[in-house]
């Protein structure tokens, strides 16, 4: 039986927040800067405990979230795999530096444990109100990757994925978790080294005088030279040329912006992660993410028991939006149900991709409570 193999791996009974730390450490994270905020604080607390015991690990509690993100980028530029964790209000503050990270292409991971908002909102209640902000929170056009996790095990796995994507594409990666997943304890299995892949940024292989730190490569992602490695590059939040120096030349500016987008666009297939459940013959497909995907899973089972052909498209990558997976369902004519704990942030994307082809219905729950399986089931029945 497969259980024998599984027993070799370490098992923990852990919070979603704790699982994030386990994933980060497996991915090679050695730097954490943060500021306490409910409901993400456990991530920071466990990091404070574990990082000094990790080879080269460094942890710092900064004076606010702006500073945390600044320190994270600084550490990233100095060659570390770095992360921070926060929640709504702190995420708002971080936007300034998330833009900077996009601009200088500094790999970093930001975990946002979503709670009710806007403003201080509902500090201890779940919501999914930061989805569009994760995509468009910082000013200016920018590419970014937004992931989500729905179970405690996924918190671990998606944190590894987040680090891998950020290192591979030199882009900040935002992992959205909601309060429910963050504060649920479940058994998780720590994968052994064979079970997962770790990606680290590509270092330049040419001598410093030939190196153009922001030049497009065949991979679309320029190699990255850490501070102090002899390359003495200039990093700036101003729009820059391939050498890294500020430019206002229209041709250089345009090329720069296009390159930033291209490096994500040309790797959609790698970045866009979804999971399908019972969708093959589904007449009603639920599109869900985060803890709501768990409720939807049970609701689909219950609907099937009642003879309704329901299915689930579970979005693990939220941005770039999994267009192809959704189109596969809408082309076949499946009606779409989008339950989310916000006023319709992913359903906007769903409707945009659907372009009126099939019926799209939404469940928008904003009372600080999780969407229950029975609520989804009722709506499936009404489609």
């Amino acid at each position: 039986m497969a259980q024998k193999a599984r027993r070799k791996n370490k098992e923990l009974f852990a919070l979603g927040n704790e699982a994030v730390v386990e994933g980060a450490l497996l991915a090679g994270c050695t730097f954490f800067a943060g500021y306490p905020i409910t409901p993400s604080s456990e991530i920071m607390e466990v990091m404070a405990q574990k990082l000094p015991r990790t080879e080269n690990g460094a942890f710092i509690q900064m004076e606010d979230e702006i500073a945390s993100m600044g320190a994270v980028i600084g550490a990233s530029l100095a060659g570390r795999k770095a992360m921070t964790a926060t929640s709504g209000p702190g995420f708002s503050l971080m936007q300034e530096h998330i833009g900077y990270a996009c601009m200088v292409e500094a790999p970093c991971v930001i975990v946002n444990v979503m709670r009710g908002g806007p403003s201080t909102g509902l500090p201890t209640s779940p919501a999914q109100g930061d989805v569009q902000m994760a995509r468009w929170g910082t000013h200016g056009d920018h590419p970014i990757i937004v992931l989500s996790a729905s179970t405690v095990q996924e918190c671990l796995e998606m944190t590894i994925v987040a680090f891998n994507f950020s290192e591979k594409y030199r882009v900040p990666v935002i992992l959205l978790i909601d309060e429910i997943t963050a504060h649920t304890r479940e058994k998780i299995t720590i994968p052994s080294e064979r079970d997962y892949e770790i990606f680290s940024r590509v270092l330049p292989s040419m001598p410093p005088e030939w190196f153009k730190p922001f030049e497009e490569t065949t991979r679309g992602v320029p190699p990255m030279a850490p501070i102090g490695s002899g390359y003495r590059i200039h990093v700036t939040g101003l729009t820059h040329d391939p050498l890294g120096y500020p430019t206002q030349r229209p041709d250089e500016v345009e090329e720069f912006t296009h390159r930033l987008f291209r490096k994500i666009d040309q790797h959609f297939a790698d970045i866009v992660l979804t999971e399908e459940y019972e969708t093959k013959d589904a007449e009603v497909a639920v599109v869900a993410y985060g803890s709501v995907a768990r409720s939807a899973h049970l609701a689909v089972d219950q609907a099937r028991e009642q003879g309704i052909k329901a299915g689930l498209l579970h979005l693990k990558t939220l941005f770039p939006f999994p267009r192809a997976a959704l189109e596969k369902l809408t082309r076949r004519g499946a009606a779409i149900l989008v339950p989310e704990m916000n006023m319709g942030q992913i359903s906007r994307e769903v409707k945009r991709v659907n372009a009126g082809r099939v019926r799209v219905r939404t469940i928008n729950r904003v009372d600080g409570q999780i969407i229950t399986p029975s609520q989804i089931l009722k709506n499936i029945g009404q489609m």
Binding site: E11, F13, T124, T151, I180, H183, R185, E186
Partner: protein, 208 residues
């Protein structure tokens, strides 16, 4: 999965009471034991923030042989209420065939006459000489109550999670809880059978 464990499909359990009674620790221990040593799928959630600071405390567990989709409790199979307030508030989520366990020192007005009661608080104070052992005593009692829980494995969970200094005391408290539960509540399979029968009778009565 442990060889002699029961096949379970979503068993829901709520532990409730006052802050300071060790409810959250109890939930974590119970969840740890069932997940790591019994091999069940377990999700454990709890009350947070102002809710938790208001004096009440709550930990919920869902236990299943299969992966758990919805992690929260909807209809509770076993409700443990260690305060009057908790008992009043959560009795409504107990399934008709569910079992209610109360601390008879703390809960004086029960919403039903079908309950299992024991003076857990007094056991901790008088028999163990330490009020802080309350939650471990309750853990012992719950372990006895759950037909799929094995005392041996729960003790292992205790050993792995308790600081060495207080381990012996807590092992004693666990045994005490188990013993008292056996004495007062009877054997577990009987309790659950009775609860199921009762619920059925109620349905029939309602139909008549």
């Amino acid at each position: 999965m442990n060889a002699n464990s029961h096949e379970l499909n979503r068993f829901e359990l709520r532990l409730s009471g006052l802050g300071g009674q060790g409810i959250i620790t109890l939930g974590k221990l119970l969840g740890y034991g069932l997940a790591i040593h019994h091999g069940y799928y377990v999700t454990q959630t709890q009350s947070y923030g102002p809710e938790a600071r208001g004096g009440s405390s709550r930990a919920d567990l869902v236990i299943s042989s299969n992966p758990i989709s919805y992690p929260k409790t909807e209809n509770v199979d076993l409700l443990v209420a260690l305060s009057q307030e908790a008992c009043n508030e959560y009795y409504g989520v107990l399934k008709p065939n569910g079992v209610l366990v109360i601390d008879t020192v703390m809960v004086t007005q029960t919403p039903t006459n079908r309950f299992l009661g024991a003076e857990f608080t007094n056991y901790a104070k008088d028999k163990m000489g330490n009020p802080l052992t309350l939650n471990t005593i309750v853990l012992g009692a719950i372990t006895h109550l759950l037909p799929f829980a094995q005392p041996r494995l729960m003790r292992k969970a205790l050993e792995e999670n308790m600081p060495a200094k207080i381990l012996e005391l807590n092992k004693k408290a666990f045994n005490l809880g188990q013993r008292e539960a056996k004495k007062r509540f009877g054997e577990a399979p009987e309790i659950w059978k009775k609860a199921a029968e009762y619920a059925e009778e109620e349905v029939i009565e309602a139909l008549e």
